[in-house]
């Protein structure tokens, strides 16, 4: 049984690709055969974050156009078994995506035994984003605790409930909210929307909160998803998210400001 999951946000720069990389890696670490697909045709990024950019020969668009076989275009991750990447084309544009071809590739991936197919949506609500969400069974909506991001997330939730295969056949997509770049200290000072503010507006279940952290930038630049270094709080937060996504109970963390112990205050 395969699940197609779209990671979407509407707004750019909120952490879709980071989230895709970490969740796909985390699910694969749990032993599920997983593929991450970059739908951001023309602005290829996912391969960088996953550290496989030098191994890209063929891409998603090549497969859609029949110029390459799917199993040739798929890149197997060297660190994590069960993790595969289907990179975007850097030279084409979103018009290369069309419903029939995308559906065919997704079905082929299902037939190859992939349990989780994670679609990294481009920003915006245009064709690329619509193609990424069209066949999704579940959606992880990524937002920053900031009004414009929340409004864009709301817009995307509206599209998810209307412009997807599920919606057109009268069933609902399961939606999850992931709040990234969260800073409890700023919330406390009233400079950032709180988790409850965002939840009240969007009204969908909270999958998790990812704290604001330099670790994200470092791991992106290194091409090593944060979850592979379990010590950072971002890794912990994303692993919690993965467990919750796979149906396990985890208490929400990183919502309250952390009490700094005396040792950390002295030496931190």
């Amino acid at each position: 049984m395969s699940k197609v999951v779209v990671v979407a946000s509407g707004k750019g720069g909120v952490g879709k690709t980071t989230t895709t990389a970490n969740i796909a890696t985390g699910i694969a670490l749990r032993g599920h055969k997983t593929v991450a697909i970059d739908f951001d045709v023309g602005l290829r990024n996912l391969d960088l974050i996953l550290g496989c950019e030098r191994r890209v020969v063929y891409d998603f668009v090549n497969v859609l156009k029949g110029e390459a076989k799917l199993n040739v275009a798929l890149i197997r991750d060297k660190r994590v078994d069960n993790l595969f990447v289907l990179p975007a084309s850097q030279t084409r544009d979103k018009e290369a995506l069309e419903t029939e071809g995308v559906g065919r590739v997704l079905n082929e991936l299902k037939a190859m035994g992939f349990e989780y197919i994670i679609c990294d949506s481009p920003a915006g609500i245009e064709k690329g984003a619509q193609m990424a969400m069209y066949f999704a069974d579940e959606a992880i909506v990524v937002a920053n605790p900031e009004v414009s991001s929340v409004r864009d997330a709301d817009r995307v939730l509206g599209l998810l409930s209307a412009k997807t295969n599920h919606a057109e056949t009268g069933t609902a997509i399961k939606t999850h909210l992931l709040l990234t770049r969260y800073s409890p200290a700023m919330v406390k000072k009233g400079e950032m929307l709180s988790v409850s503010d965002v939840l009240e507006l969007l009204g969908i279940p909270l999958l998790g909160v990812i704290p604001e952290s330099k670790a994200v930038l470092l791991s992106s630049n290194k091409g090593t998803p944060a979850v592979l270094d379990e010590t950072s709080d971002v890794a912990q937060a994303y692993l919690d998210v993965v467990y919750r996504f796979l149906g396990e109970e985890r208490v929400q963390r990183f919502i309250e400001e952390e009490k700094r112990g005396i040792m950390r205050r002295l030496f931190g």
């Binding site: 609500i125 409004r151 864009d152 709301d154 817009r155 939730l157 509206g158 599209l159 409930s161 209307a162 507006l201 009204g203």
Partner: protein
Amino acid sequence: MNVSTESRVARAPARSPGRPPAFELKGVMTSLAVMRPHTVDLALIQYQLHEKIANLPQFFQDAPVVLDLGAMPRGGLELPLSALIALLRDARLVPVAITNASDELRPMAVAEGLGVMPYRAARVPGRAATPAGVRAAAEAAAAAVVSRNNQNIENMQAEARALRERAQREASAISEGQTPGPTPGPTRVDSGAPTAAAGRPSMVVRHPVRSGQVIYAERSDLVVLGPVNPGGEVLADGHIHLYGTLRGRAIAGAQGYAGAQIFCQKLEAELVAVGGAYVLSDDIPADRRGRPSQILLADGECRIGPL
């Protein structure tokens, strides 16, 4: 029976003080189908009319129709009026009056048994009477607020003047306890469809209305159980009932029905409008913000009161 009635009528002038009035004569706003021909091609009109009637035959049968010639050059002088009237009667419509017509057509209309209605300025499509018009007015109003250009707002308020006159009349009718039973449909402008919404059930939306979504309850009331989020928009030709927080826009009486109201549990709207008059977020009184409220049209203005 007849005899006694006649005799009572006959005696009435002498004894009229203290007697109950035999009838009321009132100017009421009622729903009428308005047909606005855009062409003198009667064959085309006939073809498209039959198509429309085929869609909703029960609405059209014996429905009174006003002929609005405002879209025709020279007040419709080139239009074969008698033939058009005959065409409508053949289609089992009841043409009752002409409006926006050239004065020279008046004798012909009267000879056909039609009344002549005064000019109806607010009926021009694209004015505040249509949902699009309300939206356009609202967007323009938002722009005007940004530029702090009050003149623009006044201009737009002037645009809705005809509607407001109706509003006053209807508001007073309602305050007299003559609340309409089934929501009367507003007068249709372009489509020529008849307007009585009698018996048309309310539209119920059970999901949140999210940013970018537009819900329009055409010729009926609208009930929304979830919130209306910022950037979301709900419109109804009748009333709007909102059980969640209203953070987006709500437009009741979208086709101009001035008796329409908005009822909401928590008012944090970007804009509320009733029958063409609107209030922007900044102008919502502080004591109503976040509270259960009702919005109605009174004295031509959009008023917000406690629920």
